[in-house]
């Protein structure tokens, strides 16, 4: 079976649930304490699409903590971005949209998937504010988390096809 490696960068404000998303649904992860020293957490997840396995190396970047130069260095060579906001906190969505604009200018060709996390805390099926996103997920219940990574892999796959 063909196996393709891809670098994925996970972005989002503090406490939107990025780490929780990663923690329970990836195959392997580096020691968190060690990596927090340099503001990054790296994990791996494999997604199978037809006869191709995508080996996703996920860089969880603590964007709030680092300078522009380091941020750029971490984002270099990325094949897809996973942008996460807290579906119960509007300000986290706006932060992601702002981030998206910057990414579109620097990485126009690279796929971006927007995820509204913590859907288990929503009163209805959607956030209470206007938001344009690809998927709602819950790191707590696991709902749609696999789909988020699958969606990402499909976009990469279509891009290559």
């Amino acid at each position: 079976m063909r196996e393709i490696s891809k670098k994925i960068v996970l972005l989002g404000n503090e406490s939107v649930g990025k780490t929780s998303l990663i923690k329970q649904y990836v195959h392997s992860i580096f020691n968190e304490e060690y990596l927090s020293t340099i503001g990054i957490n790296i994990s791996k997840k494999s997604v199978v699409l037809g006869d191709v396995t995508y080996k996703l190396l996920i860089w969880d970047v603590a964007g709030d903590l680092m300078n522009e130069q380091l941020y750029d260095a971490y984002l270099r060579g990325t094949h897809a971005f996973l942008l996460v906001f807290d579906s119960t906190r509007e300000e986290t969505y706006h932060a992601i949209i702002k981030e998206l604009e910057v990414l579109n200018s620097y990485f126009p060709e690279v796929n971006k998937v927007i995820i509204g996390n913590k859907m288990d805390l929503l009163e209805g099926n959607a956030p209470s504010f206007d938001a344009d996103f690809d998927l709602l997920t819950s790191a707590k219940t696991g709902e749609n988390v696999e789909d988020a990574f699958l969606d990402l892999a499909k976009r990469i796959n279509n891009e290559q096809g």
Binding site: I4, K44, L70
Partner: protein, 241 residues
């Protein structure tokens, strides 16, 4: 009477008393020797004699015992000195130094990674032992490199090595990728230079012409083989088959 007879007669007259005296003295001496012999043969008696003649024994043996002790100490010191010299010579001999220098400087190459510079993805990897999660290690090394370069670098410089315990990770940077050589032990400058030459040769002749637009298992297997042939020629390539 001739002269000889006269002389003999005169000698008898003169020495008669002396002879008598000597005879008596010899008899007394023999008696004394008999007594001493008995005392010497009887341990209890001998101890008594020694106890009664301590001063005489000390006076008689003292100078000899002192000499013996001095002689013993001198002999032991010479022996010790010889032993020290022998060990010193062995310790600092050329062979010893050569043997130990070789051992110290003979660091071992454990694993070689070729990592895509921007993405941190593994282009190829080969080593004596399988490493758990080479993908994560490669990404992590790339993140550390970026962090160090951003925090301390002036843009032109790059991280060249990382040390952890007995391990040293040598990093050789090329345009699209970098080599990470994991070594154990002390690596001499000559060895480092040799490793760099091998990386350069591999980059020029085999890896440099490859496309890294997509890093898949076909590409990594090809690169792994090149790494194995260059750095680990004596091992088989079973890992990739």
């Amino acid at each position: 009477m001739d002269t000889k007879s006269q002389f003999e007669e005169l000698r008898k007259i003169i020495l008669a008393d002396d002879r008598e005296e000597n005879k008596e003295r010899n008899e007394r001496l023999l008696e004394r020797i008999d007594v001493l012999e008995k005392q010497l043969n009887d341990p209890d008696e001998f101890v008594k004699v020694l106890n009664n003649s301590k001063d005489q024994v000390v006076d008689m043996l003292g100078p000899h015992v002192g000499k013996l002790i001095r002689k013993f100490i001198r002999s032991e010191m010479e022996r010790l000195n010889e032993e020290i010299n022998k060990r010193r010579k062995a310790l600092f001999s050329f062979d010893f130094l050569k043997k130990n220098k070789t051992k110290e400087a003979n660091g071992q190459l454990e694993q070689v990674f070729i990592i895509h510079k921007d993405s941190g993805l593994v282009i190829g990897e080969y080593g004596n032992e399988d490493t758990i999660e080479p993908d994560l290690i490669a990404s992590m090394l790339t993140a550390i490199k970026s962090f160090v370069q951003s925090a301390f670098g002036d843009g032109d410089s790059d991280l060249e090595s990382l040390e952890y315990g007995d391990y040293t990770i040598l990093l050789f940077n090329f345009e699209q990728f970098y080599f990470a050589l994991i070594t154990e032990g002390i690596i001499s400058k000559e060895m480092k230079s040799l490793y760099f030459d091998q990386c350069l040769e591999l980059a020029d002749e085999s890896i440099g012409s490859l496309s890294f637009k997509e890093i898949d298992n076909e590409l990594t297997e090809q690169v792994n083989e090149h790494i194995q042939k260059t750095f680990f020629p004596s091992t088989d390539n079973a890992r990739n088959k």
